[in-house]
Symmetry: C2
Subunit: 400 residues, 2 copies
Amino acid sequence: MHDISPIRAKSGTNQEGTSAHNRRVMIEALRLNGALSRADLARATQLTKQAVSNIIEDLERDRLVVALDAVRKGRGQPFTPYRLVPEGAFAIGLQIDRHLTRVVVVDLVGKVIARAEAGLPFDEPSAGVRIILGLVDGVRRKLASLFAQSERRLVGLGVAMPGPFGLKNPDNKWMMPAWQQFPLVEALAAGTGLDVGLQNDAAACATAERIVGAAHGVDHAVCLYVGYGIAAGLILNGELYSGGNGNAGEIGMALLAPAGSGSTPLEHRASLASLYQHLGLDPTERGLYETLGALALARDPRVMGWVEKAASDLRWSVHLIETIFDPQTVILTSSAPEALARLLLQAMHPLLPSIADRPVRRLPRLQLGTTDPWAIAVGAAAEPISRAFDPRFSAILKAG
Amino acid sequence: MHDISPIRAKSGTNQEGTSAHNRRVMIEALRLNGALSRADLARATQLTKQAVSNIIEDLERDRLVVALDAVRKGRGQPFTPYRLVPEGAFAIGLQIDRHLTRVVVVDLVGKVIARAEAGLPFDEPSAGVRIILGLVDGVRRKLASLFAQSERRLVGLGVAMPGPFGLKNPDNKWMMPAWQQFPLVEALAAGTGLDVGLQNDAAACATAERIVGAAHGVDHAVCLYVGYGIAAGLILNGELYSGGNGNAGEIGMALLAPAGSGSTPLEHRASLASLYQHLGLDPTERGLYETLGALALARDPRVMGWVEKAASDLRWSVHLIETIFDPQTVILTSSAPEALARLLLQAMHPLLPSIADRPVRRLPRLQLGTTDPWAIAVGAAAEPISRAFDPRFSAILKAG
DNA sequence: CCTATTAAGTCAATTCGCTTGACTTAATTA
DNA sequence: TAATTAAGTCAAGCGAATTGACTTAATAGG
């Protein structure tokens, strides 16, 4: 009765799980390949033609896929390709940054339908939440005006903000202690009536790269995100990895040397915060993004000085990431202007030797990902979409 | 016809997958909890009583579980607990080290049934394979003499050897280039007629910790293995993670500093090889293990000198691992004598501050795992068992 | 031009494993 | 001794994939 069962076990499954998985597999196949015939889907998923037909019928009824015109190709009956209906599902993505918040609505294929941004008080989450709820309300209205029935198709709200979460002694200068301690998920769930999920900004960035960027279809990738702080988003076995407490990849606090003295957190040296400090800029200043872009384009010597130093630390970070994870590729992303990110990328070469330095490689060791400032919000929005539609172990199992 | 389908998709599933998964879930539940009644299993796995009954009946027919005596406990009908039958399955584990090979047979619950070891030529794999096949043959005979029908229940052969694999320029001094380039898996499969799987030694060590050691039932753990070299075995989401090319966790080659100069691979400073060098010992020497154990017990100053330096690097490794993976615990294991491992563990404290330094912790940040020299072989043997019996995503999907 | 071949996709019956709900058994408690 | 609680069985039902024959519609080749 009163005893919480101490039995450890994974959950079993049944036909519902089977069916849910197969639906997800089909949706993923369509997302990855654009448009496929029933026959192609059957071959790709190893299901029978008949099973595929049934599921397609289902998905078509749910308005998640549509048939395109039949295509004649060689002998045999022409095939009818199916593709995803972008407006089959929507999700809201929310980025919370130190002085700024961005909200987007994306559709099933990750396209941005509506967006909004506003300033945010650094240390007053309850006031901030009111601002956020206003923005969310705005984009929801916009969405409703564009697509009838869209509310029914809203699968959730994903939030991305700088981590790490749940720390004993948050470092006030580098983190957002007020926000990190505020019951944000609950407040937003109550305020929007949606399912709310929270992740750190690098994870969101990795998710964005995975669905629409450089990690599309790659199963092992690490996304190094240089924002105000620095962190890594980990795609392992095709899924985002978040660790035991949701803080995996929070490398900003990694100390740069074994010795106690002289060892600095990575964040203090290779992050935009360190650049602002180096340049004596105020991070809250308006037009900062443009200023940085211009300085980078002009190869301003002070910026180049920071780039050199930061690149040295980042080069070593990539080395460690490669050595530890053995990923197929590492993706450098940043909230900085593209010109600056490119300078960093260049300065990071040549890369340090590592295990990743293999005879045959399909993907580059290091590549530039998106530098779109909205990418974090898009990645945040992708999380509920992924939760709802991507094939994953947990989706097969029963309640849990 | 001739076109290899370029379509990317995960495989679908069907009732076979469902049933296979549920069987595995039940076996895992029994392994983790010792013995459970049908009713308990139903609650734990979220399956219906009836489904559990059917599966139990199946497993009982396959001699994988047996009923124990009924137990009266409070009101209601007494329940009949079931437990795994250890001799329900066997696997062979093979450790290949630089000058030594060990072979074990383990049963379904990870108990060692037979063992054998022999010297191995460092750079002649083909001669080595003959030696290995002889040992394997020996333990198989032993097994057959102990358990009738055991051959039918032999699920595979797991091999563990130092990585990394597939490198461009193997470092002859630190690796085993001849072995790493030899078609070992094929040779062993041909020579034994068994399914053969290969992993690095740290991964095997982590697997051993997972099934019978400190990581039993823990979903996020990193196993730091100090052997001749050094590496980490990664348990993420309850499964071993091996990266894009099977080299995840091979941190021996990690450089210890961002700068190009003065940066040494971790392996050169914190590994038994470095200790041998420090002490001027020959690693092939007989009785080395005992010598080291005695020196450690006597707190020999030269050993303590190495311990201090190595511990400093290891302390920092733990810091990095915690920062990057956010595991529930880190486990220190070693092929060194326990006394030496304990010295290392002590010298690593106090640990560096990190994200793992949380207000509430269920498990210690760092704990000592096994120092049994046979652990690697046991872990190697656990891999085929796990592949055959543990619940995992890939086991639900169809072929592939 | 006509026929054979190839391939997409449907139809209807079947199978298989989990679910459902009623029932039996056997203990404790009042 | 009767009520209650819980384990476990029975038998029918259901849902989703499978199977194999069939239909449709194109191209290739004689």
